[in-house]
Symmetry: C2
Subunit: 100 residues, 2 copies
DNA sequence: TTGACATATCGATAATTTGCGATATTATAA
DNA sequence: TTATAATATCGCAAATTATCGATATGTCAA
């Protein structure tokens, strides 16, 4: 967990939103056939629609969040699903309380 | 408290360090004649020395941290002292736990 | 008042980030 | 196989950030 990388990832309105939306995905995303969003996550297209930005941008933002350790990914067929990585998020909370 | 502004302020090694040093200033800064660092804070020159960057840069970094609400300032004579703003820091911790 | 510090601000250049369109890659279904 | 859909990556221009030197501003002491 690289604090600077994490804070950079969080320094952007869209990326903050993605992370927030993923906290309660059923509330924010339109369902995906036979996928439990809570367990599996949401795919890039779902995020793209919600963000109202290009697929390219959505994909990159998800990638930035993932490299920072804030979300994790699972490929199922031609879809890539992303969901929150609660462990890392807790770690950052701890870092914030102890080091900052 | 503007989360994006806060995370941007924290997205820099030097600024993170300043904030960390200020947590226990006596441990990290050389004393200033008759000033209780814990109560009053440390001045720009002290931070400049510790940072090993120019006075200009140190002053700007302190200003960025202050605008983000992470530190507060008090001018005494020709010195400007900065210390942590624990209230805001707590607020951000809460934001992090609740919104992110 | 003037000189000497401490700090803030301005203007500049290099580096990084933003967000896009175009294209490459991967996986499925026909 | 091939057409198609989903995703990733590349290369770009615009915007923002990093860091500096130079200079302005504020404050005290002589």
């Amino acid at each position: 967990m690289e604090p600077i990388e994490v804070f950079k990832a969080l320094s952007n309105e869209s990326r903050l939103q993605i992370l927030h939306w993923l906290k309660d995905p059923e509330k924010h995303f339109t369902p995906h056939e036979g996928i439990d969003m809570r367990k599996i996550g949401v795919c890039v297209s779902q995020v793209t629609d919600k963000l109202k930005m290009t697929q390219s941008t959505a994909s990159q933002y998800l990638s930035i969040l993932q490299r920072a350790g804030l979300i994790k990914t699972e490929r199922i067929g031609k879809y890539t699903y992303y969901k929150r990585n609660e462990e890392t998020i807790r770690e950052i909370g701890a870092f914030f309380n102890n080091e900052i």
